[in-house]
């Protein structure tokens, strides 16, 4: 009964979804997937076939003398397709049929054998889609079959024990020992290194087999395996050459830093928002910045162009290009997919801080040293006080607060839901998807939440045989909700974590009567939700309209055009509230309510921002095969215009925060303020590509872009960026095939090209002035203006010359796959400001970028893979590693005192450190060795590097590692056993060092707490053998004492899934049900940084990365 109801509900759901997409589906009447519903009572088969012919485009062809079509049958057909109907009206053993593309159905007598046949279905293991055209064969015989549009096949019944082989391009060949079943269902594992696989490249696609550039890609299904809210973070370790580091885990602000092959250039102006080391990210043909917020289910593939092949994007591609392509509608019946995930998130590692007792002790130590180690010392925290902290007898005056424990939730929830339908006919293909994500704060009283809604509709229509038009609309709503305290710059997380981690534990958090205390500087994290909010409603809309026209009278000639318009509106509302805390007054013995820092009245700012991008391009391409020669050529033009504007309104003195709208604020002129401005930028460029191959054996490619950027002055705007690549497929050579038959594929490739980079602030060729920097005369503001950056009238492109040499091979049918790439890059004309060499005495305002830097980079990428299938077990292992190192050949730098301080010759970002050589344990040691003024016993012993018996800046050396890892690696293991699948992914980095600027602080005068790791075995008067520096230790600059190897290996993600057997799914009319459990950041092994997550970029004061345990279900119907 229940089951019936469920069926009915499902049917209604299905129908209503159908109606929703009616306009699309209606065109699909002529497809294979047309369903029939009728009832036959005692009619002949012939009549039935005629009936079908009348109500559809199907035509049946059969010999009435061979096929018994006059049999009377009684049958109920309910929403079934043609294959299913035919298999029901004919006895399968006797009759076979074949459906052709033009809907012609040939029915014939099965003459080959009197044996019964077996049937089965082949579906893609990763997507669950049927696989069409799979070759099914019984080994040692000539009998075989091919799967149809639904992945079904009928095979002559093999002998028991015979081997049935399933093969298809793009999949790993599977073999099954036949055990007398009637049905053989196969899950086909895609061959990720498949040669026939098509890879997205700039403005087009190319077969992996004939690819000559260094391009790697990953399929969308790989990315959906990790339950991370931010899809960009799932790229980490998956793509050789891509270095992804997640620096913080705050919902909605957890974008990782991404570098392709390390940092090839330098950012001389870190104060602007422009990062010249960033790769170019192209989403569906347009530079778009929301990769991290994509619906992972929408992603078809992510390609990374690492070498000269990026030259097609000339202008901004010097740091490599990431191309994200979203899924399109697929030919076939509508497939509905529903995914639901619930995840529990919790920080990976929470730093352990000193408790009140230890804190008071180290504070006393520091205080004692600051007083010059007096003979009689009256401690800031007396022994009695410390005893009270220890025994907890007076929680009001002597609390022992673990701030992290006070604010950290045991877990928080993350929910993700996805719904999509996908299908199409020859005429129209469509994809409609919807997804939501809901992520909450991991901290109590911290009003952080993130909600994301993704909607996409993508339609491709064959208007005529030659003209295809398409539209791809993607709407994104992301609501980010934070405390307003976070507001401001790159250190937005610091504010919170300062007051959590550095808050001193002798301060109460909550008084025993429940009142909230002030915490560190009156900024207790528990008060954050009382202080107002900073809300973003960010609603970008991305649209692409494409047309593709095959010129009918010239075979191989095609014109493509696209028009793209992106509109992003963001509304930010910042509400600042006066807030209060309580403080126990020892004199009155009452709790005083106190107003803390922050607003005196309710203050509200509304900020509207709008960004637009308009981009259109035309491409003409031509493809021709002439004997063994194959040529493709493409030429295109593209223009892009971006604009940005904002307007803001501010009021204060709201009567109440109940109505958080501008009009509720005070009308007094002094209580109001507003602001606004606008900018625009543009690009104009021409590009082209020519490919030639001979017998798919000798490959050559040439590409170029002639690029114009508005960032440069007229006359310096255009740059020409060419690239070429060559390939040789040795495995196609006859001699090679014969001598080493176990090598299926072996290709050598080489590429070289020149690419540009223009990522610097606009208008640097002009001297301009901005309003601001008012001065006050007589108590009244007088307006000021000030000069911006000094002009550089000669500013132009940065140039990158890239050379790649690669080899890829597949041996023993996939038992071993190797892909190795060696690369070199020379950057010149690097746009850098001469901040480091121009003396301040010249009095320049800020300095412009000039084309002065030179950097050499080199490295390699290696991928090893192995795949095998043993009966029901199929598995694959892929290991990849990336090495990238930069070397500055020339940069503007301060003339250094000592040669070992030069930046030149070392990687970008290499910093100066004093070399720590343990600590001074005794006054004798201190007296015997040079040290800076202010050094005491227990301080770090700094090595006198230049041996001049003075410790000063000349003793710093330039360290050759940075916080961008030189080596990253990933290990991916995938397994499939029957209905179970398992994937395990390890990721790590090495040759990377973090300087922790807060780690060294212990017992300092500013009341900051310290990590317990720092306090371990530190030098004290009684522990003169300690290895760590004393409390309140002094160092004249960064020393290697607090420079840590950030090597780590982590079990980044693991997923185990179970696909319910077909029979269960069929009962409730669902095609495919998969349940799975996955985890992210499950285990971490760190070499040195054990007190916090080692993936941070320096200090432990950040929103920690999250460990996520996820449960999910995916249903297809």
């Amino acid at each position: 009964m229940k089951n019936k109801q469920l069926k009915k509900i499902l049917l209604i759901m299905k129908l209503s979804t159908f109606f929703l997409f009616f306009s699309l589906i209606s065109i699909s009447a002529e497809t294979f997937s047309q369903k029939f519903t009728f009832e036959i009572k005692g009619e002949s088969i012939k009549d039935v076939l005629t009936k079908i012919e009348e109500s559809s485009d199907y035509k049946f062809l059969y010999r009435s003398d061979a096929i018994d079509v006059n049999n009377q049958i009684t049958i109920n057909i309910n929403d079934e397709n043609i294959g299913s109907i035919l298999s029901r009206i004919f006895d399968q053993g006797d009759v076979i049929y074949k459906i052709f593309d033009d809907n012609l159905v040939v029915i014939s007598k099965n003459t080959t054998s009197q044996q019964q046949s077996v049937t089965g279905r082949v579906i893609d293991a990763s997507t669950g889609e049927p696989v069409i055209g799979v070759n099914v064969s019984i080994e040692g015989t000539t009998t075989g079959a091919i799967t149809d549009i639904n992945g079904n096949f009928i095979l002559q019944r093999p002998a028991k024990g015979a081997t049935v082989s399933f093969s298809s391009i793009g999949y790993i060949t599977q073999k099954v020992i036949y055990g007398d079943e009637n049905v053989i269902d196969i899950k086909f594992i895609p061959d990720v290194l498949s040669l026939q696989e098509v890879v997205v490249i700039g403005y087009g696609t190319q077969k992996k087999a004939t690819l000559t550039g260094s391009i790697v890609n990953v399929g969308g299904e790989e990315l959906t395996k990790s339950p991370m809210a931010n899809v960009t973070n799932s790229l980490s370790g998956k793509l050789p050459g891509l270095i992804v580091n997640q620096r913080n885990g705050e919902p909605g602000r957890d974008d990782p830093s991404i570098h392709i092959r390390g940092t090839g250039t330098f950012d001389s102006n870190t104060s602007d928002d422009i990062d010249p080391t960033k790769p170019l990210i192209i989403i569906d043909g347009v530079e778009r910045d929301y990769m991290s917020k994509l619906n992972p289910d929408d992603i078809e593939s992510v390609s990374v162009l690492k070498d000269a092949s990026a030259a097609i994007y000339g202008a901004r591609a010097a740091n490599g290009v990431i191309i994200v392509t979203t899924k399109s509608g697929k030919l076939g019946k509508p497939v509905f997919s529903f995914t639901y995930n619930t995840a529990f998130q919790h920080p990976t590692k929470v730093p352990e801080m000193l408790d009140a007792v230890a804190y008071a002790q180290v504070y006393n130590e520091g205080d004692y040293y600051r007083q010059g180690r007096p003979a009689t010392y009256s401690p800031a925290y007396s022994d009695e006080a410390i005893q009270k902290y220890r025994d907890g007898s007076d929680p009001v005056l002597y609390p022992n607060t673990n701030w992290m424990k006070e604010v950290l939730k045991p877990y928080s929830l993350q929910k993700r839901l996805g719904l999509s339908v996908n299908g199409g006919t020859e005429a129209v293909r469509y994809l409609i998807s919807f997804a939501t994500l809901d992520q909450n704060s991991d901290f109590r009283h911290m009003p952080t939440s993130y909600k994301q809604y993704n909607m996409r509709i993508k339609v491709d229509v064959n208007l005529t045989k030659d003209l295809i038009i398409g539209a791809n609309l993607n709407a994104l709503i992301n609501d980010r909700h934070y405390t307003y305290v976070n507001n401001g710059g790159t250190n937005y997380n610091e504010t919170n974590f300062y007051n959590i981690l550095l808050a001193n534990p002798t301060l109460p958090a909550i008084y025993p009567n429940g009142l909230l205390a002030g915490g560190r500087m009156g900024q207790s994290p528990l008060l954050l939700d009382q202080r107002g909010y900073d809300k973003f409603e960010d609603t970008p809309l991305y649209s692409s309209f494409t047309a593709s026209y095959k010129v009918p009278f010239i075979k191989g000639l095609k014109i493509d055009a696209s028009f793209n318009y992106d509109l992003r509106n963001q509304f930010e509302k910042t509400l600042i509230l006066p807030y209060y805390y309580y403080e126990y007054n020892v004199l009155t013995q009452t709790y005083d309510k106190k107003q803390a820092t922050g607003a005196s009245t309710v203050e509200l700012t509304d900020l509207y921002s709008k960004w637009t991008t308009m981009l259109y391009n035309y491409r003409i391409s031509y493809e021709k095969t002439y004997d063994d020669h194959h040529i493709t050529a493409m030429l295109g033009q593209e223009q892009q215009k971006n604009s940005y504007s904002y307007a803001s309104a501010y009021r204060k003195n709201f009567v109440s925060p109940a109505i958080d709208q501008i009009n509720a604020g005070s009308n007094a002129p002094a209580d109001k303020n507003n602001s606004g401005s606008a900018t625009a930028s543009a690009y104009n460029n021409y590009f082209g590509r020519l490919n030639y191959d001979f017998k798919s054996k000798y490959l050559a490619e040439f590409l170029f872009r002639y690029d114009g950027s508005q960032n440069f002055p007229s006359g310096k705007r255009y740059g020409f960026f060419p690239g070429f690549s060559l390939g040789w497929r040795l495995s196609e050579e006859g001699f090679f095939k014969n001598s080493v038959p176990f090598v299926e594929n072996l290709k050598l490739r080489f590429s070289h090209g020149e690419i540009g980079n223009d990522r610097v602030a606009q208008y640097q060729y002009l001297q301009s002035y901005s309003f601001g920097q008012n001065y006050v005369f007589g108590g009244n503001d007088a307006a000021g203006i000030y000069a911006n950056t000094m002009p550089n009238p000669n500013i132009t492109w940065e140039v990158s010359k890239k050379t790649d040499l690669g080899m890829e091979a597949t041996l023993w049918k996939g038992l071993l796959g190797i892909d190795v790439t060696l690369w070199k890059e020379k950057r010149s004309n690097i746009l850098a400001a001469r901040n480091l060499s121009i003396p301040a005495i010249l009095g320049f305002s800020s300095l412009p970028n000039e084309n002065i830097g030179k950097v050499d980079n080199h490295g390699f990428e290696l991928v090893l893979s192995h795949r095998k299938s043993i009966n029901k077990l199929t598995y694959n292992i892929e290991a990849n590693t990336t090495f990238a190192r930069s070397k500055i050949v020339y940069m503007d730098e301060t003339p250094q005192a000592e040669p070992y301080q030069n930046q030149t010759g070392l990687p970008v970002g290499a910093a100066l450190y004093y070399k720590a050589d343990g600590i001074f344990h005794t006054p004798e040691e201190l007296a015997a060795y040079p040290h800076v003024s202010g050094t005491q016993v227990g301080d770090i012993k700094i090595l006198d590097l230049n041996g001049d018996n003075v410790i000063d800046s000349k003793d710093q050396f330039r360290f050759d590692k940075t916080n961008t890892p030189e080596v990253v690696f990933g290990l991916n293991i995938g397994m499939q056993y029957g209905n179970f699948d398992l994937s395990i992914f390890f990721q790590g980095q090495t040759r990377v060092y973090n300087y922790d600027s807060y780690f060294g602080s212990l017992g300092t005068s500013d009341f900051n707490n310290a990590v317990t790791e720092r306090a371990k075995n530190h030098w004290t008067v009684d522990n003169t053998n300690g290895t760590m520096p004393r409390a309140d230790a002094y160092q004249p600059g960064s020393t290697t004492m607090y420079l840590f190897d950030a090597t780590f290996v982590r079990l980044k993600s693991m997923e185990i899934g179970y696909t319910l057997p077909k029979s269960i799914g069929a009962k409730i009319r669902l095609d495919d049900i998969r349940v799975y459990a996955s985890g992210y950041n499950l285990l971490t092994w760190a070499k040195e940084i054990k007190w916090c997550d080692p993936e941070n970029d320096g200090s432990f004061l950040f929103y920690p990365q999250l460990r996520i345990i996820n449960l999910g279900i995916n249903i297809k119907f």
Binding site: G372, P374, T679, Y769, L842, G843, P895, T1004
Partner: protein, 564 residues
């Protein structure tokens, strides 16, 4: 088919490619040509030049680096009292630091504004615009350049004299060398002389133009300048003509219509625009450009920060230097040793009784009322209770048990982080001119006039004059002390100790605070000064080093200050 071709052709023509797409003018800024063609924009440019002027309403006040306060922090300005300052870390105390570094190191800002001023003077020299008040604007600009150079020579001695503007192409290949101290003084005098005739005589403190350069401001600057020039640091031979110049410069302002403001407390704690007969020049604030000195410096009682990390609490050293109301100092320093002065009647267990009223106006101590609140800094002898303003109550109450009161608003103004405080920062006021004059006259041997002008300053707060028996080195000590007391926390002490060449004595004295124990049974308080900080002053610290990086950037053409 045809349709499609037509549409394609149409679209192509509509979106035809053009280079013009790259010609975009900025919409968020003004071009240089526009600035110098518009009188209003020129005015705004000129106004902005005034930002070269430093003020002391900053997070880390300069007092932290002197013996006026107990600087509890070892970073930022803490490197000065700790003696760990070097040419490498001197930029930690630069005025461009977020915490303003006590305005100690002033280099980048100064040179930027020298360039801005030079650009302005160049443009005014060539402009064809008929600009109202052009001569006054030029005069103000030259005055500001003099201000910057005075700030330079106080710190570094001679620096390069730059009167031309360089552009980026001249950045390499141009080198500078330090001019002598005397050359710089002459250069300042040239600018002041040139500016003088085109400036108005004065603006009252309540005037809308107060804060701009005037003839009186020029005179005040000369008075301080020549005092510095004549002081032992720059006048080791005790050249009396220099002292005469200092005396003359001060004398020029003695009778210019200013008078000592009767209330020493209100002299500093009234908002901008308030009439103030004593103030010659200062930096004012507005409700949008305000300061937060009260909440930076008051104690936890008001949710304030005690000087940030409670590091600007007045020191016992300062408190000890206030005379008794009978005119006698409680302590006398003999050969670097501090001894009691029995004649003063100072009672160490009633340390705040019968003291110079300026103590009450400058320091909040145990038992003092401020803003209607009784401040209590004691700790019970059993350690179980303490005064609400004691350092045990909060790390935001200074450890030395003293809180700054100078500049703190009166009861009529609320104390909160939200209040836009506009108390001006005094730069020149009449009392200083009196003391400058007294000092110059003393050095010239005219002790009568010296005592006369000290008397004027003391009389304002009701303190008795110095008896005629106070002469010679004793008078010098009292004169120096008068300046310390009168201008405490006004960014004078740091420079005075250096120009007097007494820093190697004074700045090596440890900083003390007060420990107040209250007997739980009798309620009697015991006052014990406690040593809080060992200070270090090295001989080379009389002048500041130029940042080592800057020296290297100049390829050594600029010499480092001696011994750094």
């Amino acid at each position: 088919m045809k349709k499609i071709l037509i549409i394609t052709a149409l679209m192509w023509s509509l979106f035809s490619c053009s280079d013009k797409i790259l010609d975009i003018s900025p919409t968020d800024r003004v071009s240089e040509d526009a600035v110098w063609a518009d009188e209003k924009l020129i005015d705004a440019y000129h106004t902005e030049l005034y930002n070269c002027i430093m003020h002391g309403h900053i997070i880390n006040m300069q007092s932290k680096t002197t013996d006026e306060a107990y600087c509890s922090i070892t970073f930022g300005p803490g490197i000065i009292p700790n003696g760990s300052v070097t040419a490498d870390n001197i930029t930690d105390v630069e005025n461009t630091q977020w915490h303003k570094g006590g305005n100690i190191y002033y280099w980048a800002t100064g040179w930027q504004y020298v360039r801005k001023i030079n650009v302005f003077l160049d443009k005014m020299g060539t402009t064809t615009l008929d600009i109202t008040n052009k001569s006054r604007l030029v005069a103000e600009a030259r005055f500001l350049r003099a201000y910057i150079y005075f700030e330079f020579i106080k710190r570094f001695g001679g620096v390069p004299i730059i009167t031309t503007t360089y552009d980026l192409t001249q950045a390499t290949g141009t080198s500078f060398t330090r001019a002598t101290f005397d050359d710089c003084v002459n250069f300042i005098e040239e600018d002041l002389t040139a500016a003088f005739p085109d400036l108005p005589v004065t603006y009252a403190a309540s005037d809308a133009d107060f804060g701009r350069a005037t003839q009186d401001v020029v005179k005040a600057m000369r008075s301080r300048l020549y005092l510095y020039v004549a002081s032992p640091l720059w006048n080791p031979s005790h050249d009396l003509t220099k002292w005469q110049k200092a005396a003359d410069a001060a004398e020029a302002l003695l009778n210019s219509g200013y008078s000592l403001y009767p209330d020493y407390t209100k002299l500093f704690n009234q908002p901008s625009k308030t009439a103030n007969s004593e103030l010659i020049w200062g930096r004012t604030f507005s409700s949008t450009n305000y300061q937060q000195t009260p909440v930076n410096n008051l104690g936890r009682r008001y949710g304030a920060y005690g000087g940030w990390w409670a590091s600007n609490g007045p020191s016992q050293n300062l408190v000890d230097d206030y005379d008794m109301t009978n005119g006698e100092p409680p302590f006398i320093w003999v050969n670097g040793v501090k001894t009691d002065n029995p004649a003063s009647g100072y009672n160490p267990q009633m340390p705040y009784d019968n003291r110079d009223p300026r103590l009450e106006a400058t320091v909040i101590h145990d038992g003092a009322y401020y803003h209607g609140d009784l401040h209590e800094m004691w700790i019970a002898s059993d350690g179980n209770s303490w005064g609400y303003d004691s350092y045990l109550q909060s790390g935001d109450n200074p450890r030395g048990d003293y809180i700054l009161k100078k500049f703190m608003p009166g009861i009529e103004e609320a104390i909160s982080w939200q209040e836009p405080y506009t108390q001006p920062w005094p730069i020149y006021r009449l009392a200083e001119i009196y003391l400058n004059y007294a000092e110059a006259k003393f050095e010239l041997g005219d002790e009568v006039t010296c005592r006369q002008y000290i008397k004027l300053v003391r009389a304002r707060v009701g303190m008795p004059e110095l008896p005629a028996t106070v002469t010679g080195e004793t008078l010098r000590a009292r004169l120096y002390n008068e300046r310390r007391i009168e201008m405490a926390f006004e960014e004078q002490r740091f420079w005075d100790l250096r120009r007097w060449k007494i820093a190697s004595d004074v700045e090596n004295r440890p900083i003390y605070g007060m420990q107040i124990i209250k007997d739980v049974t009798t309620g009697v308080k015991t006052y014990t000064p406690v040593k809080l900080l060992q200070r270090t002053f090295l001989e080379k610290m009389y002048l500041l080093p130029i940042s080592a990086t800057e020296i290297r950037k100049n390829n050594g053409s600029i010499t480092q200050t001696p011994d750094w």
